[in-house]
Symmetry: C2
Subunit: 201 residues, 2 copies
Amino acid sequence: MAKRVTGPEIEKLIQLLAKVPGLGPRSARRAALHLIKKKDQLLGPLGSAMGEAYDKVKVCSHCGNVDTIDPCTVCTDDRRDQSVIIVVEDVSDLWALERAGVMNAAYHVLGGTLSPLDGVGPDDLNIKGLIDRVSEGGVKEIIIAVNATVEGQTTAHYITDRLADLGVAITRLAHGVPVGGELDYLDEGTLSAALRARTAI
Amino acid sequence: MAKRVTGPEIEKLIQLLAKVPGLGPRSARRAALHLIKKKDQLLGPLGSAMGEAYDKVKVCSHCGNVDTIDPCTVCTDDRRDQSVIIVVEDVSDLWALERAGVMNAAYHVLGGTLSPLDGVGPDDLNIKGLIDRVSEGGVKEIIIAVNATVEGQTTAHYITDRLADLGVAITRLAHGVPVGGELDYLDEGTLSAALRARTAI
């Protein structure tokens, strides 16, 4: 703004809101005005919720999930099959797979992928934690659910090598046509994977 | 989420973030994870900024602007020409006009437009406050800068009528072709207004 038209506290709120993914400078102003209009229903509760999350949030020392308890809700859930571990890149992938709601398994969050060009090596990811969990015994299957990108696949190969001698089954997500996807828009790699992995009707 | 995968504090944060305009349920999860990753740079400061805004924000009793002081930054700015009042529907319009940075005037926020169908009458808008400001004297011009919608124009007519006998100049924003606009995409109303208000080159 060319000249100050409102208090520094509100301008600071707008500046910080603009850093939230999904909001830019213009939508941050709109969001700030909406929050102020809904002061008691939204601004106050959201501020408190952020403060509470700030105080309580921790990363699970066991699997890398984000929670307010450590070990996290998933690791302490005894209705889950803790002998199956789904390995993901990021917490958002864990949450996405849980929304699918198919598996009742444990998780392990790597915190990224191997990327030598960006200086990300095995020690920068939570791979040692995964090997420790498997070495402790009781694990039957590792499902590697990293992204189907070059970095993801490199990471998957590396983990498979490291786990090879630990006597645990290692699987990966199936490649194929996304549900609702149109063949015409899919790349050759996906189509050839889907053809090779065709199933009987 | 089908099953709980994280603490209730974090789920509450996601639920509240989803109510912020510009964010939906999916982007609220993404935003929450980003905030948690940038705990000290973003989550903490944003929570504090919201708390501070919640405690300090007020609506200016003079013009209706949102600020942390009352009268607001605009009303107390003695470098502004307080004899010209720009009448807007909403605080966001005040901020938008200030970004244009053309006028160095005072403002008056109506808080909406007349809309009999929605039960919004003159008493629901801050029209009396405007008439009081003009009646107190010292005001030379009222620029009516409401939206160019049916409701906005109805409101403009009503205000013009109410101010008619107070001996103050009343103007409105020019209609015309938006800067950067293509004629082919403009409606007939805008084009005919732009033709009628043509200016010498």
